[in-house]
Symmetry: C2
Subunit: 347 residues, 2 copies
């Protein structure tokens, strides 16, 4: 029997990156292209142009597969991806999301519901590929962790992945599968309220976890402490608009008291978020992923301090740690989605 | 083919109640017995005595099954039930939980780990019964809602059941199955923190949802308002120790301002809890069950007011309503667990 490979596709705002992945998570070949015209003159303007570029990139990887292997699945991680519909719906940062050449077959429900039916088109184009599925980045990361990262050493297939970046995303794996919810939009840990009447959030609510613990939230906490306290800090010398979470890390490493306080506040709210995720789904482990985790112990130490306060005593055996996924996390996550779809078919 | 029936067993602190249930949720026969000696001279003292009474009650229902029917499953809802182990572990209110006659076979891991292996013993005693499973009351209620209650009219098998009583329990159904977590203890919505540094909770933490929104929590809120405000109220005439959530309902119905404020505070915190559950699992519906729901609009109106504030805009299509399970909820829930176990075997 031929060895099964998968193709992982990460649809980013700037680039679409694809990898040909084996069962162990090794990337045997990779390719990429510009996702949209807005970021490069070479990118596509219309959705059907995007699909043509995607077919080309996939063909390239199919051709790169060794003779004793077969590509059994294609997984796609994309912003605003709807798992059940296999479509990207109203993704704010994708210019082609609402443009297609009216004459072409790709339209589907496009005009009616403004959705890019990536999975339907791929299934039609690649009938020999057993499983094709798409989900959002955080769910893909959770599956990537399960198949290729820290999840490999767990006894049960129950984990939570929290992705820290400009926003705060999350994916919940329960009994080996993602908790999608009735409309595929579950996993919005970033928008649980951790501070009633707290600071405003991009979602329109107030006091959301994301508004405190994303890179943007960490920046906002630093600015608030600069404004509201007299604590001396090197951060006061940085132009307000240019201050980043990374600056806070650098300052903390140099012993800056205000910066330390920023991490303490971040750890406090993140502990409420993590303990809430654990109380509801009781995973074997919670993994933290993304830029702010580069702060290492600066983030982990206050987090653990407050977890001791907020975690239900009966759930303290849930491990909380940094992701074990490396730089290829996005394509590995997408590839893991394909693996999971294959596993579901074999059940 | 014979019609499949199930037996639902509700292990309560006072009584163990059993029902013979058909596919439509009709109770064809029922029986009960005292769960433990502490509540009646007739109850069992030892775990093996308890099991003998349970066998007798099940035999009674098996004999009551019509000739064209077969009992295909037995489901048990019990406090501190461990789904994966099929055992009751350290249930605080069950006296026989740590007592068994040492000579008898029922011991199992009993002495080592203090667990009552109800499922293993039942499987041995009733080898002809296809599926036997046990879970806690809140998970059973969630499955009862799914199979026999408000879940019947849902398009997807994704719901959350919140049980309000002395405590606050919850069961999460994702894609037709309970979210058990790695150790079967998931679904502790009652112990998410809704007020950092809030009031103390029985679990040892502070600010838990349960400490505000259970019947006990409602009572505590009333007592706090009596102590901290000068608002006139009929509740002030009730002896502190005797004040209950029901008194708050009665007073509100008579237009009592302080009592109204109690419901407003309860609705506020419950909205944080419900919106958190929805953000994470995005169910098609959230059902509220138990004593405090008898307050009806007194609870639902402030809840909906604050849900409007706390619910993520993209998730506002999740319905929030009272349970459609009637008085037989506990045995229907246990019966539904059996149905679900049968369905899993047929997958």
């Amino acid at each position: 029997m031929k060895k099964q490979l998968t193709i992982g596709v990460d649809v980013g705002g700037t680039n679409t990156v694809l990898g040909l992945i084996d069962r162990e998570g090794n990337c045997l070949a990779r390719t990429d292209f510009h996702t949209q015209r807005s970021t490069s003159e070479e990118g596509p303007v219309f959705f059907d142009e995007y699909m043509d570029l995607l077919y080309g990139a996939i063909d390239h990887l199919l051709a790169a597969a060794p003779e004793d292997c077969v590509v059994a699945g294609i997984g796609i991680g994309a912003p605003n991806a709807h798992y059940f519909k296999g479509a990207i719906i109203n993704a704010a940062n994708l210019t082609w999301k609402d443009r297609s050449k009216p004459s072409k077959e790709v339209l589907g429900d496009f005009e009616k519901q403004n959705r890019c039916e990536v999975v339907r088109l791929l299934k039609k184009h690649y009938p020999a590929v057993k499983a094709i599925a798409m989900t959002n980045d955080a769910n893909a990361a959770a599956l990537g962790e399960l198949y290729y990262g820290g999840g490999k050493s767990l006894k049960k297939k129950d984990l939570v992945e929290i992705t820290l970046g400009t926003g705060l995303g999350s994916g919940f794996v329960s009994n080996g599968d993602i908790v999608y919810g009735h409309n595929s939009f579950a996993g919005e840990l970033g928008h649980i309220v951790v501070e009633p009447n707290g600071r405003s959030c991009g979602c329109g609510k107030c006091g959301c976890l994301e508004s405190y613990c994303s890179a943007t939230g960490i920046r906002r906490t630093a600015l608030r402490l600069i404004d509201d306290t007299a604590t001396p800090s090197v951060l006061r010398k940085i132009e307000r608009e240019k201050l980043t979470a990374k600056d806070v890390s650098i300052a903390t490493a140099a012993g800056d008291k205000l910066a330390l306080e920023v991490w303490d506040i971040t750890g406090h709210y993140l502990a409420i978020g993590v303990s809430t995720a654990v109380a509801i789904t009781c995973p074997e482990a919670v993994f933290l992923f993304g830029g702010p985790t580069k702060a290492g112990d600066l983030l982990m130490n206050p987090l653990k301090k407050y977890l001791d306060k907020y975690m239900l005593p009966s759930m303290k055996d849930t491990k909380v740690m940094f992701s074990k996924l490396g730089e290829d996390a996005a394509i590995l996550g997408a590839s893991a989605l394909a693996l999971n779809a294959i596993a579901a078919q074999n059940k």
